[in-house]
């Protein structure tokens, strides 16, 4: 039982960390960033490179975050800005961007699968169970990210502006908030978060040019269900992530892979607002 609980909690935390970047972009910009998977992959390669260069694996996470933020700011200016009025087209354009990033990665690193070293190895004992130390660390980091983001939104000026833009952009502009700047910074943050998440989870798995794809779809479904709120994203991660773990453990790991997608689609059919109270 202890193992199952830890599985659920760590899986939920990983899903949350991965989906957070997608969510803040959706919230502020009402845009689905389908390049999210490519950003994850980029972060994974940053982890691989830092490992190969002998730098401490812990550093790969902030490094990836910074790189992602810079890339995000550029991309927002060039590709995303012209598409604010066309949300469905924005999905396609960012998906195309994801393909481009994927091909650039392939041409640079080759098509093969690479591995990044894990910052923590071995197990620690928790709740009477020996559990992978790094998985637990990832879960902790995810919670910290959630805390930091919530604090950013609630206690900073930027957060206030962002929340205003989320609720009513026209009005916010009318009040003098530079919504273009808010959007740009938000996209940068979303991209940075995605890269950092990629660097975070790569030591658990592996990285290849296509690793981001399954994460993209799952994050997307989670964000659709949770709307724009960190607490409800956390809840969605736990509920759907938990369902995934349960199905994987008791039915089949293969069917487990599609639990999130199938459940999310059904929930949205009957309650288009999902879990959010917005």
């Amino acid at each position: 039982m202890g193992v199952l609980t830890l599985d659920i909690l760590t899986t939920a935390a990983i899903l949350f960390a991965v989906a957070a970047g997608l969510m803040i972009i959706l919230g502020v910009m009402k845009l689905i960033n389908f390049a999210h998977g490519a950003f994850l992959t980029t972060g994974g390669y940053v982890a691989y490179l830092t490992g190969a260069a002998g730098i401490s694996p812990w550093l790969s996470i902030p490094l990836a975050g910074v790189l992602g933020m810079a890339a995000g700011l550029v991309i927002e200016r060039v590709i995303v800005r012209p598409l604010y009025a066309r949300p469905l087209d924005a999905i396609l354009a960012t998906w195309g961007l994801g393909i481009v990033i994927g091909q650039v990665i392939t041409l640079t690193f080759g098509r093969g699968v690479q591995f990044a070293p894990s910052p923590l190895s071995g197990t620690t004992a928790l709740f009477g169970v020996d559990y992978s130390a790094y998985r637990l660390a990832v879960a902790l980091i995810a919670v910290l990210i959630a805390g930091a983001l919530s604090a950013l939104l609630s206690f900073t000026r930027f957060g206030l502006n962002a929340r205003a833009v989320i609720m009513n952009e026209t009005l916010a502009r009318g009040l003098g908030i530079d919504s273009a700047k808010v959007r740009a910074i938000t996209f940068g943050m979303g991209a940075g978060l995605a890269c950092a998440a990629g660097a975070l989870i790569t030591p658990l798995l592996s990285v290849d040019p296509n690793m981001g794809l399954p994460w993209l779809v799952n994050s997307f479904m989670l964000v659709m269900i949770s709307g724009v709120s960190f607490p409800s994203l956390l809840i969605a991660s736990i509920v759907l992530g938990g369902a995934q773990v349960l199905v994987s453990t008791y039915v089949s790991p293969i069917l487990g892979g599609m639990t999130i997608v199938a459940l999310a689609a059904l929930v949205l059919r009957f309650n288009p607002r999902g879990f959010s109270r917005a």
């Binding site: 689905i32 598409l83 999905i91 195309g96 393909i99 481009v100 779809v217 069917l255």
Partner: protein
């Protein structure tokens, strides 16, 4: 034979000739690649219909392709091989695709579903299907897929002809469909789905039917693909193939049908043809082209090609055939005069948003031959009242009967079918459709729409004719809606609503933005509608003079409840009403 039919036939024949000759001109490898590409091109055509014409961004056509492929692979591997088995497998492919498409449609296309949600569902479909294939273990071959199953080892030429003929025939059919009256309905749905619902067009049903049809075509293509290549793998049903189809459609040109087909053939052949590192460089280039196209050229490359073509071979524009108007008998409208129950009865209607009451306990009866005016200050709930009448899902409580039938939780289409017509506060039409096409659209519920060609007449009831004549629109049947003046757009909208022969007409500030003469015209028409055709018209207005001239009865709405009811003079003279409009209570006259 109409021009459309002639063009289609010519195109079809040209295509068939090209298909017949090609295998003898091309080398074996190219023929080999092309066979697969041709099957895929047929699927791309369905993506263009769904996305380009109807506006459904679908990632899921690959799932149906996969269903067809796996039907072939599974039956031939595990059950048997032979003409009987092949037909059975084909039937399975078609049946399974249709059922899954119907289910997907039910999930995705309910009234009020956002386009984003529909896309999400089409996204989930290939993912779920791929996972199901993975979970099939040895039966589906899981990650390896199935290969080496018995199949028809015909010559490459034969397979090329099969694939080519399939593509030419389905594309011809698709072309005829999008060029027909029904094709205009599809474009209307893409441009303004809400309005279509309020014209009584069964939008959800149309989308689901199209999805089923597209799924079946994609499934047959998948079947052929599998039978030819002798391999089925989960990638055939996957998300990445689904997005590739979208990319080809976008690059070729949305809503051009031929553009995506050609783009698919071109791009897929190129990527198979290039060897070594080039396929990846090629993919990079198509990816960049895709992003550029989406951002800068939303219509793809086809319009550029079209413009070039026109520059090289200029010819004066052939005027699109303009429809002729004929008179339709007004049976439906008159029906309400004969029935015992009033056309509109509202009982204890209320609408709440959480603790905010927008409408409280409204009771109202609308009679035939009556023009009922609804007035009240802003925020009183007038438009909400109209929304509740025209959409069964809007209200929180209460009952509404139209011609004696309760509307229940019916969708706008359903309510329109009961006899309600509604116009909107903001004119809200279909930019690229002509006046004649709009009128045909309005008659869809009653007259349907031709599937494979264009009718040249549209039957309208007298009231609609009157409006067209009064506004001069009957001389502008070939004009695109976006080129009309505001007054004419209003007139067109009214004509469209009347074309559907409602017995209850809901008008939301119909004279807003009109000049005085235009207002008089509308007024005359409305009066005539009630007197001669027995309609019950409910009209929201701010112009009290207009209301006085035309209506018999006026209801004042204030903060969601009926303040008073009476003739215009009674209401206008009332102190209570004056106070409400002024925003404060006056002392009662002693």
């Amino acid at each position: 034979m109409s021009i459309t039919h002639r063009t289609a036939l010519t195109g079809c024949l040209v295509g068939l000739v090209v298909v017949a000759v090609a295998p003898f001109v091309l080398d074996t490898y190219l023929t080999n690649i092309l066979i697969r590409t041709l099957f895929l091109a047929a699927v791309v055509m369905t993506v263009d219909i769904l996305w380009g014409y109807v506006g459904i961004l679908t990632f899921g056509q690959s799932a149906f392709f996969g269903i067809g492929a796996y039907a072939c692979g599974l039956v031939f591997t595990h059950y048997g091989f032979g003409p009987g088995w092949a037909l059975a497998a084909l039937a399975l492919a078609l049946g399974a695709a249709a059922i899954v498409a119907a289910g997907t449609g039910w999930l995705a296309f309910f009234h009020g579903a956002s386009p984003l949600y529909a896309s999400i569902i089409t996204l989930a479909l290939p993912i779920v299907l791929t996972q199901l294939i993975f979970s099939g273990g040895n039966w589906t071959g899981s990650s390896s897929g199935l290969s080496g199953f018995p199949t028809y080892y015909w010559d490459l030429e034969v397979w090329f002809w099969l694939a080519g003929v399939f593509l030419v025939l389905t594309t011809t059919g698709g072309w005829l469909l999008v060029r027909s009256d029904f094709g205009r309905v599809l474009v209307a749905i893409r441009e303004n789905e809400e309005r279509c619902a309020y014209l009584g067009i069964p939008v959800s049903r149309i989308k689901i039917m199209l999805m089923i049809l597209s799924a079946m075509i994609a499934s047959v293509a998948g079947f052929g693909y599998a039978a030819f290549s002798n391999v089925v793998a989960p990638e055939l049903a996957g998300f990445q193939l689904g997005t590739e189809l979208l990319i080809w459609t976008a690059l070729g040109g949305r809503a051009t049908l031929l553009g995506p087909v050609i783009a698919a053939i071109g791009i897929d052949t190129m990527s198979s043809w290039l060897s070594g590192a080039m396929p990846f460089l090629w993919k990079l280039l198509t990816g960049i082209a895709f992003v550029v196209v989406i951002v800068l050229l939303p219509r793809g490359f086809a319009p550029l090609v079209g413009a070039l073509w026109r520059k090289l071979r200029p010819r004066h524009a052939v005027a699109a055939p303009v429809v002729k108007l004929t008179l339709a008998p007004v049976k439906l409208m008159m029906q309400s005069n004969e029935s015992a129950s009033p056309p509109l009865r509202i009982e204890h209607l209320s609408r709440r948003y959480g603790s905010l009451h927008v409408l409280r306990d409204v009771n109202l009866v609308g009679n035939a031959t009556e023009l009922l005016g609804i007035i009240g200050p802003n925020g009183a709930g007038k438009t909400t009242l109209m929304r509740c009448i025209s959409d069964g899902n809007e209200r929180t409580d209460g009952k509404i009967h139209v011609n004696g039938v309760e509307i229940g939780r019916g969708s706008p289409q359903h309510v329109v079918g009961l006899g309600v017509g509604r116009s909107f506060q903001n004119t809200n039409l279909f930019d690229t459709l002509t006046v004649g096409e709009c009128l045909k659209l309005a008659r869809y519920r009653l007259d349907g729409a031709r599937l494979f060609d264009r009718g040249d007449t549209v039957a309208l009831p007298q009231p609609a004719m009157d409006i067209l004549q009064a506004t001069g629109l009957d001389q502008k049947l070939g004009e695109e809606t976006r080129n009309l003046s505001h007054g004419m757009k209003r007139g067109l909208e009214l004509a469209m609503v009347l074309a559907a022969e409602p017995s209850v007409l809901l008008l939301d500030e119909p004279t807003a933005g009109l000049t005085r003469p235009e207002r008089m015209v509308i007024g005359k028409v409305l009066t005539r509608l009630t007197r001669e055709f027995g309609l019950c018209i409910v009209i929201i207005e701010h112009d009290l003079d207009f209301v006085r001239e035309i209506s018999n009865r006026v209801v004042v709405l204030h903060q969601g409840a009926i303040l008073m009811e009476g003739t215009v003079d009674e209401v206008v003279a009332s102190d209570l009403v004056k106070a409400v409009y002024a925003g404060h209570t006056e002392k009662k006259a002693a």
